[in-house]
């Protein structure tokens, strides 16, 4: 019977990658294990990977979606191993639960690129990600210096409680505004990352608070939801809205900035493009790679929105 | 039982009832539908808690909070509405709530099987105990309920209309058990609307009216007419009304009607049935339990769907009978045998139940017209003498007979040309029965054709112009209503010309073994 799956390059070899590197002549099956494509950011990560991989002749990428379930993601990786992938890219739903299976893959000699969220050991080849605390701080500093240099009131719309980014984006923001004691966070709502919850939560915040100068949302959809609520109340010009993520898609934050609804947003890079580049280094160029690749954020305002959109968009 | 009082919300069901049953006595409890018989017995068996009143058993005062309490005190009850688990087997039903256990406290299936066999043999019913209850006929289910109650070895056994779903042969078997209970000193309360049964089995009787005692009598010394007078308040001169002769026009003509076996099997489907009913004629369907009467009526009402073959003509025109809708559209009405399962929407009002079939005709383009509905309901309640607090009362609060009349009313509103009735007086009191007979006579006189199945031969003989006798799904003979006798019907129904228990059971066995072979 013909083999449906490309022969594994690293079936029973040693963990040293260079040893069995087949270089440009090989064909490589890459498994991408995504935590939850229902989050636009993660869908974008998949799309970036797919677009980047399309440029590399030797690569075939297969995707799995864990739909936010750690156990499913473990099974997804197990299934990839059963199929004999040559490289694993994983964006873990949570760190601890995925650690064991990622270690197993790594110890079987499969290069592992961990995206966005680390695992709890260093059994991976490269981590690519951004720093949420850093982004939160950048947002805070932007508010403290650009939007409210003379102080003012901030309403915060938080992501799903308990999720790490929500915690870090909140903490970083507070560090960022600490320099300006005139800034006060007067309301906090929980929008669970969702546009509609951002909207209804901010409606209530508007009712309870007469005076709001800046709305800081942990992601762009919630910022957009807040904008809609303010617009309906006729108060959208009283305040400014900032978000995070800046996805380069029509429904993303860059467009919202470009069209003037948001004052600013901060790029939270998906690392998809970078992951394929790293994979190329490992598999095709047989090169060693750094253990960590921290991606920088970028402030998007009306000035650079169109340019960044064109640069980051996948097609 | 002394001074029992019970209210249900606003309904005053029992207003201080006394009842005394002696050991070894079979005590009949009589009364119209809704008189409070079942409620009184539900009090006795712990299902319903009385508002006032006292109960003593063997001189000891008792108070039951649950049916289990009552059972522990030696009170067993066969409930009017069959209370068995349809998905469970006969065996499992027999031991429901008191399953035997092994030494290891696990379920003792072997003991259950053994015992079940004995219990069924004891009341003389041939049934595989491993059958699922829902695959049994209503009568067979009733026998299971009886066997279950008997096996409780109770001091007091309440039978609430145990015979309403039974054919005569099974009634016989039930009655054969009663003397044994008597000898054991069991006090039996026997509720029935069949006066003839009361006369055969009961020693004394108590009559209830409107939640009160209306009298107590000794059966051997009292004429039925007197008992009826106590129940109804006035004598019923004539149970069966006079009838007009049928007309000439053939309303229903059935030729070669055959229904293919249901994939699940277990039914006696009609086979090669030829039958005619004229306008204004009442034709009876007689037969033993499981002769296929219900199935024939089902088929004529479109319930056999595409399994039906042969021709059915109404007023000379062939009709399509793929569904009840077809049948209703063709002018056929059907009062099914089990009003609770097949007839009524219990949580809905009397009015809603009455207009259910006629809604589209009373409405305009799907929009209801409340006034027309109201007047139709009011007319039905008036014409059929339906006893209800109001048209908006939940139909479940009505007495059995009145519930039955509600199903009647529903189909009469569609002014059918042909009315199919399956045991229409099951569980109906004698007053209501005579009203239903009078209603049938009136409908027939108005030109309606009526096809009625019944297990009560006197009823068939009293109201029918002709009686078709069924056996194994076939019409074996059609007798003239005036000249037919019970013996003749039974003879035809049970295959051979002898009517002794011996002969027929041999025949039945022969039939059974012949089919197996």
């Amino acid at each position: 019977t013909e083999s449906d799956v490309p022969e594994s390059a690293g079936g029973d070899a040693t963990p040293e990658e260079g040893a069995e590197c087949a270089g440009a002549d090989g064909e490589y099956l890459i498994g991408m294990s995504q935590a939850n494509v229902a989050e636009p950011y993660r869908q974008q990560m998949d799309d970036d990977i797919e677009a980047a991989a399309a440029e590399v002749d030797q690569f075939e990428v297969v995707f799995a979606d864990a739909a936010q379930d750690n156990a499913k993601q473990v099974a997804d990786v197990e299934n990839f191993l059963t199929q004999g992938i040559d490289l694993l890219i994983i964006s873990p739903n949570e760190a601890a639960p995925l650690t064991a299976v990622v270690e197993r893959a790594y110890n079987e000699g499969i290069p592992v690129i961990v995206l966005d969220r680390k695992i709890e050991s260093d059994a991976y080849t490269q981590f690519i990600g951004a720093d949420n605390t850093e982004i939160g701080r950048a947002a805070g500093e932007y508010v403290a210096t650009e939007l409210l240099p003379d102080g003012g009131t901030v309403a915060e719309l938080k992501g799903l409680p308990g999720s790490t980014p929500a915690q870090e984006r909140a903490d970083g923001f507070r560090e960022g505004i600490a320099a300006n004691p005139g800034i006060e966070i007067v309301a906090e709502g929980v929008g669970d990352w969702l546009r509609e919850k951002g909207q209804s939560q901010f409606e209530a915040i508007l009712q309870a608070n007469q005076d709001i100068d800046v709305v800081y949302a942990h992601n762009d959809p919630m910022a957009e939801g807040a904008y809609l609520a303010a617009q309906a109340a006729g108060r959208e010009t009283e305040m400014r809205f900032i978000g995070i993520d800046a996805l380069p898609i029509p429904s993303g934050g860059i467009k919202a900035v470009e069209e003037g609804r948001l004052s600013a947003t901060f790029v939270y890079p998906t690392g998809g493009k970078e992951a394929i580049a790293t994979a190329q280094q490992i598999l095709v160029e047989c090169a060693d790679v750094e253990k960590e690749q921290i991606l920088d954020t970028e402030l998007i305002t009306q000035e650079n929105a169109a340019e960044v959109y064109a640069r980051n968009a996948t097609q | 039982m002394r001074g029992i009082v019970k209210h249900f919300g606003g309904v005053h069901a029992l207003r201080g009832v006394d009842l005394t049953v002696g050991a070894g006595e079979v005590h009949a409890l009589l009364g119209e539908n809704g008189a409070g018989k079942s409620t009184l017995m539900n009090v006795l068996s712990g299902v319903v808690r009385p508002d006032e009143g006292a109960i003593e058993i063997d001189g000891e005062p008792v108070a039951f909070a649950t049916p289990a309490d009552a059972q522990a005190a030696g009170v067993a009850m066969i409930h009017q509405e069959l209370d068995l688990v349809p998905q469970a087997t006969v065996t499992e039903n027999l031991f429901l709530g008191r399953e035997p256990r092994t030494r290891f406290r696990t379920l003792d299936r072997a003991a259950m099987r053994r015992h079940a066999r004995e219990l069924l043999d004891d009341i003389g019913i041939e049934l595989s105990p491993s059958r699922t209850l829902s695959s049994l006929r209503v009568g067979e289910q009733q026998m299971v309920a009886i066997a279950k109650a008997l096996s409780l070895e109770a001091r007091i056994l309440v039978m609430d209309e145990p015979t309403s779903a039974l054919s005569d042969s099974e009634v016989e078997r039930l009655f054969a058990i009663l003397p044994r209970l008597r000898r054991r000193g069991v006090g039996v309360v026997f509720i029935s609307h069949r006066m003839d049964e009361i006369a055969v089995v009961a020693d004394r009787g108590t009559v209830m009216r409107d939640g009160r005692n209306a009298g107590t009598f000794v059966v051997a010394e009292t004429a039925p007419a007197e008992v009826i007078r106590m129940m109804v308040g006035q004598p019923i001169e004539q149970l069966f009304p006079d009838r007009e002769p049928p007309r000439d026009a053939v309303r229903l003509a059935v030729r070669g009607l055959t229904v293919a076996e249901h994939p699940g099997g277990g039914r006696t489907e009609p086979r090669d049935v030829d039958l005619e009913v004229r306008a204004g004629e009442v034709v009876g369907l007689a037969g033993l339990l499981g002769a296929g009467r219900t199935e024939l009526l089902d088929a004529l009402f479109g319930l056999a769907g595409h399994r039906l073959s042969g021709t059915v003509e109404l007023d000379g025109a062939p009709v399509r009978l793929a569904s009840p809708r077809d049948a209703i559209a063709a002018g056929i009405g059907y009062v099914p045998e089990d009003r609770r399962v097949s007839g009524l929407v219990m949580m809905e009002s009397v009015a809603a139940n009455i207009v259910l079939s006629a809604l589209p005709t009373l409405a305009r383009a799907g929009w209801r017209r409340a006034s027309r509905e109201r007047s139709a309901v009011a007319a039905s309640i008036r014409d059929l003498h339906i006893k209800t607090a109001s048209a908006e009362s939940a139909v479940g609060t009505l007495s059995g007979g009145n519930q039955q009349k509600v199903v009647f009313a529903r189909h009469l509103l569609r002014e059918p040309r042909l009315l199919l009735l399956d045991d229409p007086t099951r569980g109906v009191d004698i007053g209501a029965k005579s009203e239903i007979y009078r209603l049938l006579a009136r409908l027939a006189a108005g030109g309606m054709a009526v096809l009625v199945a019944s297990s009560e031969l006197p009823e068939l003989l009293g109201i029918c112009d002709r009686i078709a006798v069924l056996r194994g799904g076939r019409v074996v003979t059609v007798l003239d209503g005036r000249s037919a006798t019970q013996e003749a019907i039974l003879a035809a129904a049970s295959l051979e010309q002898h009517t002794t228990v011996e002969g027929a059971s041999t025949a039945a066995r022969r039939e059974a073994s012949g089919r197996q072979g």
Partner: protein
């Protein structure tokens, strides 16, 4: 003859003077839970300059707007539950409809009317298919619609490539007609949100349908006793299919509103809405066993949930504590219903 007769009392023959508690009393009772939550909301409302924020007319209108989608889903769900069914797919159909709306308007440049027509038809067809599978083939509605949920979600994701499609308004190609942005606006001098108005309209229509149509009687009869309904000549399969089709249609309508309200259609919209809709129906006193329930109760149930979310948000309650409070209040509201129906 030896009879000790108690003479039958003549006038007792008909028990007509039974004390019957008027129906209206119970109808009112279905709002008990709503009224209690409303009063509690007033008590716990934050105040601003002496004004009770909760009672602010804008806040009240916001509540109606916020529940409008769940409310519309719940109305369809009421009919489904009345026939002893359940529809777990409504949230996913909402997502499919929102995605489809945005796609048709933005990518395919359909007009508003055409888009709405197509999307409603899709919802109707999806619901009717589920109804057919459940009513005709006898597959339990829970399973059919659970599968339907997955299928609708999958279709929506495939349709949009997984991402939400943003709506931009304007004239010409690649933007949506301005008329569609009406859904995101308010009428009567900018006070009443259009979605709230649509919700009210659907509610009124449903109330009329329930009171005035033969169809509704058939729905109740089927839920109460399907066999009796069949024997009464009611086209059971057709009514059931219609009920699921209505639920699908209303879910599609809610999806269109969703896209309009949020200027975006995303395949992940409406996740979990089905449970909120079912909660609204049950809190409103409709029995999951079928046959018993009212649309007005459902409207009350939806408003109750909306008020609850609102007052918890106004007070900035920790969202985890919110979960607890909502759980307890849902049980309490259902408990009041259960008690009520036992009394009855």
């Amino acid at each position: 003859m030896s009879v000790d007769t108690t003479e039958p009392t003549a006038e007792a023959a008909t028990k007509r003077r039974r004390f019957v508690i008027p129906e209206r009393f119970f109808t009112l009772q279905s709002y008990v839970a709503l009224i209690m939550v409303f009063l509690a909301a007033i008590v716990f409302s934050p105040r601003r300059g002496g004004e009770i924020v909760f009672l602010n007319s804008e806040n009240l209108l916001n509540i109606v707007r916020a529940v409008s989608e769940i409310g519309i889903l719940a109305i369809g769900m009421t009919f489904v539950i009345l026939i002893a069914g359940i529809d777990l797919s409504v949230g996913a159909i909402l997502g499919l409809a929102a995605t489809g709306t945005a796609s048709l308007l933005m990518v395919h440049d359909f007009g508003v009317a055409m888009t709405i027509l197509i999307i409603l038809t899709i919802g109707l067809a999806f619901g009717a298919t589920q109804g057919y599978l459940s009513a005709r083939l006898g597959i339990q509605a829970f399973i059919v619609t659970l599968a339907g949920l997955q299928v609708a979600r999958g279709l929506a994701r495939i349709w949009s490539g997984g991402q939400g499609i943003a709506l931009a308004y304007g004239d010409g190609a690649d933007v949506a007609p301005r008329a569609f942005s009406l859904l995101n606006s308010r009428t009567f001098n900018g006070t009443v949100p259009i979605p709230a108005l649509i919700f009210a309209g659907v509610g009124v229509i449903a109330l009329i349908v329930v009171r005035k149509t033969v169809f509704a009687r058939h729905v109740y009869a089927i839920g109460g006793n399907e066999r009796a309904a069949r024997l009464s000549g009611i086209p059971v399969t057709r009514v059931k299919v219609t009920v699921f089709a209505i639920s699908g249609l209303l879910a599609a309508l809610a999806g269109i509103i969703h896209a309009g309200q949020l200027n975006q259609g995303s395949p992940n919209d409406g996740m979990g809405y089905e449970l909120d809709a079912i909660a609204a129906v049950v809190i409103g006193g409709t029995s999951l066993m079928g046959g018993v329930g009212t649309v007005s109760g459902t409207l009350a149930g939806a408003l109750l949930l909306g008020i609850l979310n609102n007052i918890l948000a106004l007070n900035n309650i920790d969202s985890n504590v919110q979960l607890l409070i909502k759980g307890v209040i849902i049980v309490a509201a259902a408990g009041i219903q259960a008690f009520r129906s036992q009394q009855k």
